[in-house]
Symmetry: C2
Subunit: 417 residues, 2 copies
């Protein structure tokens, strides 16, 4: 027998009434339709407790009666199933120059989705009202459940304590703005806010790697950031800033100054913006704001280098572009090598628009990690491109809401209404 | 409202009967003695279910009847309390040249402890039999509960899958040795094995920082390693190698070759061994095996530099020693700066014998982290020396066992006997 999982921390809070309902719901989600007797057997709860919890879940609509079970005689017992379509979720992926607004069910299945152009540098009220209007105009889906909540990923840091943006570089008017309050006022439901990379990590994990408890999602776009899944859970850190890979110093000599004022930050050397600027002849550190997902630099027309152009050149086999992206991959890999030693993830997923360069980037990242990390940490490590085809953020935003609705806290709140 | 805790991953497995007993036990541990009615109220379980779970816990001895509650009339209701003294735990801190063997209760209170000299480079059977004999010779404690398990921290990597050492540098004969099997054969109880740094992180967290969910414990001794607490839980990573800071490359130019074959590893520049070797005039990279907690290099008599001598010189104000330790602190801080950006811990604890240098080391670490990490990650970060006075490993080894005994899985196993 070896070291056990720690189970105490996870159950440190006192149990609540709604825990029973959440446990029954989780059981139905993982095992499919069950009879009342099967639920009693699996949970160890009494018949009367199971009946009470099922009654609550039926009232909320989160569980419905499914077909009757096979019976050896007499009246076949009723089976119960969870109903992912009992609620709708609004999932918003807000980028620098566009947003995607989707309505999904509690399982993340997309019923309607629309993209809109906008400029996140505008004042937040204008942008958020635009999102509310876009959501309101989504085509109705027959049979869709009532809206349970909104999940939104923002292209900038979000405080874990307040849920508000913290000095977001590409959206200066948004510092400490009450994003959730504005959206909730317009849409009438609770709003869950996180940064885009955390939301993408959550979406990629649930959609493509549900069995991997330790995953690092790295977004390489105009800027560079990561979402950390450890022990099966998204880790936000003590103040919500976990995953900020962009300002880790690359372990090779460099005199490139980052926008943050420090020397040799990963983002200043290996971001889409840095690569595009170099290929454009502008030299490192010479172009627009860092941390921008697409931003003015991708909106075109202002002479700034575009990440999309880099990807196109790499795909066309342009040698200078390929070589520059490989160097970016090595720099990224040299920083990720430290993260691999520290966290020992089972999977590293590369996403964001520079990741569309594919093999030249991924192979360079992989080569550097394999040469720099310990053998123990890399033996079973997978390093892969995102598999969610740009849907990670919408899927993760939907999960933010579903995980709350299906939790004991969410059930408790719904029952209190 | 902002992003909720993820609650699904934590409850992904189907509930078991013993979950109810574990929940009742956890409630009594966190809230103190309660009546049956108070437990029903707090858990939402039925009266009959609570009665059944209490009966099980009373049978196991993990819960006992406490004094009666105050009553407004009639017979005062009985109260129930958890009993940390219902079981004993054997907690072993195995170092390179010594071991500490303690008997504790389930709360980590030490009833008896003894240190023994040994050489971990000996064959594992000899060393482990010595530990068994040492445990057997511990003085009896009147009223101590029966032995529930053994927790042991080893000075080398341990596989999360098998619980066995993986190519441990300072204990070459121990690769893939069944440590748990040998100790269990000698002591007759389940054995939980982990590496010493994970065990120290667990002990420091529980003893000194129970309210901080995100903590990095860094052991700076002959080698360098870390234990990662994120989201309140010890994170071992996909293969159990998380926390291996020693072979992260320091982000300054260096041509020092590490024992692992790579250039510029933190351990080759900032470990107690590297510092001692430099001060000894032997030059970096010139002394014995890395990763040794104390090892031959501390046993003296073979001419190798000793970490204890470094500490003594620093404490005496020796300028060369202070300057060299400050450089080690800067190198350590420059690597920790990346870990801070990635994980956003609330606390970094510095332990291990080089940490006994105190301020010169800690101040250099702190200065580098504050200058290299992002403001968001360092705003509320604390960087502190270990507060467990060398007891972290014994306390953590005791926790390994207690967490299993008090978990649903542990209760299930006990009930099945």
């Amino acid at each position: 027998m070896h070291a056990p999982e720690e189970t105490l921390a996870a159950s440190a809070r006192a149990p609540r009434t709604a825990d029973g309902a959440a446990a029954v719901l989780e059981l139905l989600r993982s095992r499919g339709p069950l009879t009342r007797a099967e639920i009693v057997e699996a949970t160890g709860l009494s018949r009367s407790t199971v009946a009470a919890r099922l009654a609550e879940l039926l009232t909320l609509g989160l569980v419905r009666q499914a077909g009757a079970a096979a019976s050896s005689g007499g009246r076949p017992p009723v089976r119960f199933a969870w109903d992912p379509r009992s609620r709708s979720v609004l999932a918003i992926d807000l980028g620098a120059s566009h947003a995607r607004v989707a309505r999904t069910d509690l399982d993340g299945a997309v019923d309607a989705i629309v993209s809109v152009e906008l400029d996140v540098a505008d004042d937040p009220g204008t942008v958020l009202d635009r999102l509310v209007a876009t959501a309101a105009a989504l085509p109705a889906t027959p049979g869709a459940g009532p809206l349970a909540g909104v999940g939104i990923g923002l292209p900038g840091p979000v405080s874990a304590r307040t849920g508000r943006p913290v000095a977001p570089p590409i959206m200066p008017g948004w510092d400490d703005y009450d994003v959730a309050g504005r959206l909730a006022a317009g849409l009438g439901v609770p709003v869950h806010v996180d940064n885009d990379v955390n939301v993408m990590a959550l979406g990629e994990h649930r959609a493509a790697w549900p069995d991997s408890d330790d995953l690092l999602f790295v977004k390489v776009a105009t800027g560079i950031g990561a979402g950390v899944i450890a022990g099966g859970r998204l880790q936000r850190g003590a103040a919500g800033s976990a995953g900020d890979l962009g300002h880790v110093r690359v372990p090779r000599p460099s005199d490139v100054r980052c926008e943050c004022g420090r020397i040799g930050c990963l983002e200043a050397l290996a971001s889409g913006r840095a690569v595009a600027a170099d290929l454009d002849g502008a030299g490192p550190g010479a172009a627009g704001p860092v941390d921008a997902e697409a931003g003015a630099s991708d909106a075109g027309g202002d002479g700034r280098p575009r990440v999309a152009d880099v990807v196109a050149r790499v795909r066309a086999g342009d040698e200078a572009a390929v070589a520059r992206v490989q160097q970016a991959g090595r720099d990224l890999g040299s920083v990720l090598a430290g993260a691999v030693n520290l966290l020992n993830p089972g999977v590293i997923v590369l996403g964001g628009r520079l990741a569309a360069c594919g093999a030249p980037l991924v192979d360079a990242v992989r080569g550097e990690i394999l040469s720099r990390s310990t053998a123990a940490a890399t033996r079973d490590l997978r390093i892969e491109l995102s598999r969610t085809a740009g849907e990670a953020a919408v899927r993760g935003a939907s999960r933010l809401v579903a995980e709350h609705v299906l939790s004991a806290a969410g059930i408790e709140q719904a029952l209190a209404r």
